[in-house]
Symmetry: C2
Subunit: 349 residues, 2 copies
DNA sequence: CCGGCATCGGAGAGCGCTCTCCACCCCGTG
DNA sequence: CACGGGGTGGAGAGCGCTCTCCGATGCCGG
């Protein structure tokens, strides 16, 4: 029960541990970082000293010399001035999409001891903040989820030479790694299924036209239907929120009362569409079959939704994997990973 | 168009800026931090030099001396080994509750230039990680959201003398600041409303009994009903997820077919309950009135849900405010803030 | 028995910043 | 005209860590 605690005030430092262990700072550093060989008995002594002093390495000091922080920025980038009302942060986090991406990222990063820093970029100012944040070495790289295609942030990051990986292909090609879904293939899956179950008059509720993924789902669906001999597919535009799905469905049924199948560009809108159909006294799938997109676990529908599954968690983990690769090796080649969707058949179609 | 860029390699440092501006490091530092008076023309020169060199202060170096990082940990703490299936990160982020808290935290912190680091603590190991993370100065404090009452993390934080603020009162009293809702008052609001609209046979679907908030909502409801002359209120336990609300409602109606009003401990379960009622061919609110809890914007119900509003965003912002106060002043007194809920009347009751 | 080569611990120089002194200058005052 | 004091800039000492040298030691072959 000796009292050889550090004589210095404040938290114990390497120096303190070294003194207690009777070795030099360098040696303690070596055993902590497992670099080079250190005699077993000395390692032992050092570990005892660490336990005794309750030492924890200071991250600022370490990253000052290693130029690594062990954290990455997880940034959600979009336009704050969009359709008014809710502030950006509220809209972002209310979207189950973000939650799934965050979950996937955390799932991959956590076992590796690295933590994501949450950032929102919805204006020129905040985009610059993100770039500064990385430049000042607060994070080693960025995972960027853009809510619309023309986001300027990716280019800023590339120009600054900062490691970054995107969710989804950027609207205009820039040399940056990204992970995306084969949206057209997913939409085709839906078209095939609708046709196979005998639908003769199908329509679609698409996402916002300025979102590339929405475009791809729409055109992919139209093309697939064309291949099945349906060159014209009624379409209305939604905004990925339930209310727009409900409104869109109402409009579709009003303009084309004979519709017997609908492909909705995401599950949230599909949920709204189901509500609308119910209001209209139409049975699903008997009268109208409905297929959603994403396979959001949070979306509970009646009847259970048939949907195109987007493995967001896996995709997010893949983003994290790519980012770490870029950080570890600055010359790591720009890579794009395209993930294949699958159709999950439940009851709505 | 001079080329007096820094002669040194790598990103520009204070030294470089000082050289370009023709002043000392100390002066540049003073200008940047706005500390003490600096002659206007020198300030001007420094700003020009900063712009010219593209200087960004190095955060590691700064926090090495200031012992401040400008970031806080946002930790979600719970039990990973709970009802199997989904990993913890998936469950956490799928819950709209988390999103709203995160939104509120970010909304408050962002204008202040500080960013939250996302952490999950679902085991002894990961709890220690959180403590280490703070001890090694990676963040200045922690905002802790526990998913169950007996979470050991708050005590670990207190024992380590780390600044932290909790979401919700801890199960056993410990000297730590927290922000909570007046759950009992909220439940009473629901009881009063149900009674006022003429319900004579009311029941409740509660949250998990090991969550203090769920207990409070349940007992608060029971007590309020007792005051209205209904000493016995049928209750079933749910887990805050839609499926359990659906199952609970079915059980309730089976055991007490005459029920005409239900208080459901959160909106997600209320959504499930509505589904169940619809399956049973019961009209809401004519046959059975339903009141939820939380007022989650993400929950779209048919009919629109009457619910007890919990201003989560404001509460989260308040947590952040308290944490910053604790960080700024280590002697800041432990404080608990209790927020009053309100009843939002829509159509379901 | 000695030289050469691994092996392994220590010394010390920074990493980029803040902040305490200290020196200096320019007032006003006696 | 000397002196004190407020205001301003510079010098320099760290903050706690990593990592490159270097030197000491032990072991091998010649």
């Amino acid at each position: 029960m000796s009292t050889d605690l550090p004589h210095t005030p404040g938290p114990p430092t390497l120096e303190d541990v070294a003194r207690v262990a009777g070795v030099s700072r360098a040696t303690v550093s070596r055993v902590i970082n497992g670099i080079r060989n250190v005699a077993p008995e000395i390692q032992e002594a050092v570990h005892r000293a660490i336990a005794q002093t309750g030492y924890v390495p200071n991250r600022a000091a370490r990253s000052l010399v290693t130029r690594r922080t062990g954290s990455v920025a997880l940034v959600v980038s979009g336009a704050g001035d969009a359709k008014g009302g809710e502030p950006f942060e509220t809209r972002v986090f209310a979207d189950p999409f973000f939650g799934r991406v965050a979950g996937g990222v955390v799932g991959y990063l956590r076992p590796r001891g690295i933590h994501p820093v949450l950032m929102l970029a919805d204006s020129a100012q905040t985009r610059d903040d993100v770039v500064s944040f990385l430049r000042q070495g607060s994070a080693d790289g960025a995972l960027v989820v853009s809510t619309h295609g023309e986001d300027p942030l990716p280019k800023l990051l590339v120009d600054a030479g900062l490691p970054a990986v995107l969710w989804a292909r950027p609207a205009r090609p820039i040399p940056i790694s990204y992970v995306d879904l084969a949206h057209r293939a997913g939409a085709a899956l839906a078209a095939d299924h609708l046709v196979a179950r005998g639908c003769r008059r199908v329509a679609t509720i698409s996402g916002p036209f300025d979102v590339p993924a929405a475009q791809d789902r729409l055109s992919g669906f139209q093309e697939a239907m064309a291949r099945h001999g349906h060159p014209y597919v009624p379409a209305v535009e939604g905004d990925f929120m339930p209310a727009s799905g409900e409104a869109g469905m109402h409009r579709l049924m009003k303009e084309h009362p004979d519709i017997d199948g609908v492909f909705v560009a995401n599950d949230l809108m599909a949920q709204g569409a189901l509500l609308a159909l119910r209001d209209l006294g139409l049975r699903v799938p008997e009268d109208v079959a409905v297929i959603g997109f994403d396979d959001s676990p949070a979306v509970a529908c009646r009847p259970p939704l048939t949907t195109v599954r987007q493995p967001m968690e896996d995709m997010a983990a893949e983003m994290a994997r790519l980012l770490l690769a870029h950080i570890a090796d600055p010359n790591f080649e720009v890579t794009s990973v395209i993930v294949q969707p699958t159709l999950v058949v439940r009851e709505s179609a």
